[in-house]
Symmetry: C2
Subunit: 311 residues, 2 copies
DNA sequence: CCTGCTCATAAGCCCAGCTTATGCAACGCG
DNA sequence: CGCGTTGCATAAGCTGGGCTTATGAGCAGG
């Protein structure tokens, strides 16, 4: 009985879900603390728990992973070689969690925040959380609120005085707003590694791209606009989906070639879940801009955030 | 009472540790499942739990974050706007956890694995987990074991027949091994954003770099070797630390400029915790190579993995 | 030799998350 | 129009993981 039965989503051969095989955030934070301070007890104090709790938690993490992580000695604890590696991998999870937390907090703080940001989806998804983490490190007491929407919505909020700083990714800047380019983005053509295009040697020609049915965002999205403009309104949809995520999932699943922001596919390219297909002579670049009401040069917290965004 | 007291490591103004503010992995996986299948009940079934469990878990996640994540209706559940954003951020955590899991499994499987990999630290830390995730997606039943060490150790394992495929990042290929370049890496000079160099307009000259005390890895490390070679053995240490992580931490903390692999600082640059300082006329590039015993061209699982590594 | 640091073990508490058993609302179909 | 199906919510009860306090044992240094 129990629930060992393999339902739909479970890949074969993995005993239970990720959550059962990966230590929880608390344990990972503890491990990082141990690595930093070199002692279970002091790490425990740093996290506000007792030494036995830390000891037991590290031990159960070692049991779970099947690997010794720390070398205990009467004079402290050091990471084993495997432990150092695990700790580095753990740090990635914790950093992602920090970004999540910063973003979530901004989503919640809505009311009494000192800095109200409006951002387009792509920027809110991929860039903003990192900026918020950095901002929090610099100015821990700046409460930020975030509102995500398309370029028009961002402009409205700014002009209505309901937001202090905006971020957009269109080809044009909405009227009534000043802007500064903070980064560049590019649309890229991607396929699953199994797709024939992944084995091409020569870059794709614009006509080939225009002639091929693609997995795309819906008409009206920023991404789609740029693509249509670049191809002269010719983009041929295989499927139209309403979120970047859905498009990625379809592409990973082998539905067909997709066109997506470079920002959106970084992770997937790194993990080789998607392969980037070079394209020739198609202008797929676009600017990412910070925007604010004409004249109202960002000051205070808005200026702090803005200065973080241009590295 | 309880433990609200702010001990050393806690930044002010954050109520408790990350783990208390970020939903656990199980909840995040559940959220992703709900987003995918559009129903609490079906998501629950997919994860092998009951519908009330899923319902309660999503609800408590919403309470924790202070944001409504899903719109429930008698015909299913769809993400709210905020929910879509949160789900995207959650996906990053889950992906990091998948990489962690793939790595940890390789660390454990030591014995009966079909593919034994030996890799240098930098590659094991930053690249390999992603490759393993991709490999698992392609060939779910390939058990991989991982041994991390320096170039010499990698070569030894391969030549002793204790590893099937190696990855090194040196300037030279150890004797007795064939190799293929799989990627390029570059050392970069980084500082905390507060460092004077961060506000420089002109690239750093080689002499300035050589004349400045730097935060460095210990002598003998791959990174250090490349730097010394590039500067003509002149690198002047401010501190010498024994792990990439420690170097990063020192640099982030403002100890001084550091020289690190591009791979190692990607995250920090994105979050603006570190700033990259352009350098002129210093050859800091290096190749990342797959290696194997001369003649034993990789086959089977080794070949699968190898083909994943050249995107 | 005692004091102070480290970690380990034991016994007990508490809450988060699970289960089963319900109820209620909306849709589609004979 | 009632019936079955699908989807979510609520209630009551169990269990285990993680916490606490209390204690012991190994090693270093004044």
């Amino acid at each position: 009985m129990s629930r060992t039965e393999d339902h739909g989503g479970e890949r074969p051969g993995n005993g239970g879900s990720l959550a059962h095989r990966v230590p929880d955030l608390g344990a990972l934070e503890l491990l990082l603390a141990v690595a930093r301070v070199g002692s279970l007890g002091r790490a425990a104090r740093e996290l506000g728990i007792t030494q036995p709790a830390a000891s037991s938690r590290i031990r159960s993490m070692e049991r779970q992973l099947g690997v010794a992580l720390v070398d205990r000695s009467p004079r402290g604890s050091r990471l084993t070689d495997a432990g150092a590696l695990v700790t580095d991998w753990a740090r990635r999870i914790v950093e992602a969690a920090e970004a999540f937390d910063a973003g979530a907090q901004a989503l919640r703080d809505r009311r009494d925040s000192r800095l109200r940001v409006a951002a387009s989806m792509t920027i809110a998804e991929y860039l903003l959380p990192g900026w918020l983490v950095a901002l929090r490190a610099q100015r821990p007491d700046t409460a930020v609120s975030l509102l995500a929407g398309n370029s028009t919505a961002v402009a409205e909020r700014l002009l209505a005085g309901e937001a202090d700083l905006g971020f957009v990714e269109g080809l044009t800047v909405p009227g009534g707003l000043d802007s500064a380019v903070i980064a560049h983005d590019r649309l890229v053509v991607v396929t699953a590694p199994s797709h024939p295009w992944a084995r091409r040697r020569r870059p794709l020609a614009a006509e080939e791209l225009a002639a091929t049915p693609l997995v795309l965002r819906e008409e009206g999205s920023g991404t789609r606009q740029v693509l249509d403009a670049a191809l002269g309104g010719l983009a041929r949809p295989l499927i139209e989906l309403s979120s970047t995520t859905a498009v990625k999932a379809a592409a990973v699943g082998g539905a067909g070639p997709a066109v997506l922001s470079e920002l959106a596919v970084g992770e997937e390219l790194g993990m080789r879940r998607l392969v980037r297909i070079p394209v020739q002579s198609v202008a797929l670049a676009r600017d990412l801009r910070a925007v604010w009401p004409t004249g109202h040069r960002p000051a205070g917290p808005a200026r702090d955030l803005l200065s973080l965004t241009r590295g």
